[in-house]
Symmetry: C2
Subunit: 347 residues, 2 copies
Amino acid sequence: MAVPRTLEWIGGPDGFLRLIDQTLLPTRLECRDCRTVEEVWEAIRALRVRGAPAIGVAAAYGVVLAVARCPAAEGEQGVERACEYLATARPTAVNLFWALDRMRRASRENSRLPDPEAFRRMLLSEAQTIDKEDQEMCRSIGRVGAELIRDGQGVLTHCNAGGLATADFGTALAVLFTAAEQGRNFRVFADETRPLLQGARLTAWELQQRGIDVTVICDNMAAQVMKEGRVQLVVVGADRIAANGDTANKIGTYGVAILAQAHGIPFYVAAPSSTFDLGLSTGEAIPIEQRDPREVTHGFGRQTAPDGVQVYNPAFDVTPARLIAGIITEKGLIRPVTEAAIRALLD
Amino acid sequence: MAVPRTLEWIGGPDGFLRLIDQTLLPTRLECRDCRTVEEVWEAIRALRVRGAPAIGVAAAYGVVLAVARCPAAEGEQGVERACEYLATARPTAVNLFWALDRMRRASRENSRLPDPEAFRRMLLSEAQTIDKEDQEMCRSIGRVGAELIRDGQGVLTHCNAGGLATADFGTALAVLFTAAEQGRNFRVFADETRPLLQGARLTAWELQQRGIDVTVICDNMAAQVMKEGRVQLVVVGADRIAANGDTANKIGTYGVAILAQAHGIPFYVAAPSSTFDLGLSTGEAIPIEQRDPREVTHGFGRQTAPDGVQVYNPAFDVTPARLIAGIITEKGLIRPVTEAAIRALLD
């Protein structure tokens, strides 16, 4: 199977970032090459690359592209400007800011490098380390979480927290991929995830590629599927997790968590440690991105609401920690979800 | 405002049924003329006319069309055949069977009418009575329910239970139309209602036509909108209500009811008495229509899920009575919802 990586740096310090244009899936699998920081910003904003860990990695490579165009002496300043710019692409996922902070730190610690070529090489090396670490974290998350999946279960997931949302292999889906690799049989229900249908377009595609039994449902069918006893576990990804465990994720996640609780189904979050924002005591302070009403009214090439109608289109919601049975990280499982348990694992 | 009626008989006993083709809304307002019972069956199956009360009225007119083509002596048999055929159009809404039963009874009671012309006139008269009664029931539901709406409230509704779902004026939306006529100000959130988007396409359009403040949201945003304190009341329609108050309605309604309960928001059902099926003790026995997977995978004029993926597409779900604060009928408000209260009001 020759599926390209979600995103990949091609060439040396003067190379470019190649990424799957996820807006075209599942009907077209095409890559897009980003050769400027502006192209990376646009790819993040337009959701060509999306998923909290993946946009962190993409942004790190974006910094390399920005500085490759700066006069050498201005390298550190260039990194600072690129980070400020890339941080405006999307507000909610903290992994973006986390990756940019790593690039900033690397830049500061190496600002005395003798020649501009070496400075760029150093930046690329740091971005590639972030990329590599993300891949390793995903594998670890898969191993930690796979223990939760039992033979014959139904598992519901929302949006896409798969290989396409990370450098490779995913977070929530890594749990399922690993359980399948370990020989367990289970069935997945993928919420289609309006407005942009990442569940129907991306999650279903990834599971299908790996031969895992997947059924697409509309978001509003989740309650019925649970009531019918078809789901024994929910696992989703995360865009930002506060110190107390409150978790921002794709809009609709909070509703799924309430429905899971009402049906006695455990609800798990899978995310790398870079998703935690311990500076926020609760989820209240997580900024929620509002997106274009046309995503709702003109989502798929056809107008589906009257001209001029008002639309509310928050891209994320926050699930309170009390609804989360556990958080699966590359360092282990946090269960129950308490601030003390989170700090103990991450410190 | 020259909006045509949802459905209307044009001409005398040899006339035809004209209905708004609701699959084209909101971008095109076009009528379709049904001159055969097969065309009425197709219009119901394809959701050109939909909503439990409206398909009851449409089916009654369909019987007239069927018999107009029969030799006169076979009138009663023709009615029987037409009723059996029309009953196969959609399985969940009981109003369809209720209306067909009324046509059957009228046919039986009048089978000795001297001439075929008189038999057809009698059938048309019965269908027009059902139509007229539905309009009156909707106005009564509006008056009963409007008392529940307070100035400044946010009201959430799911799918379309408006004028388009009935002969005129609606059930859940009749409550809002009447409250607006009485001068109250409130704001409506319309769940878009996947897969066929009756909320975005029809409810938003009807509310907009009447100048009522309406905001479209994706189904998976309802929980967040509730959490933000924007909703103080939920009101939806119904396709069938069991003797204990369990209510079948458009898929997603059950989930909304759970979310409303979790946020302490009262959840109301509005429906005419023809929606009750007292022969069913609970909602368990209500048949749930399963529809074409392509409604989910190709809903927006573009393919939104991978080729060959499995899809689960139930058109309805059942909300248990314990989640329903009250049922608004043309005969009064049932609150709390108990079998005794239902029987007392309907008998």
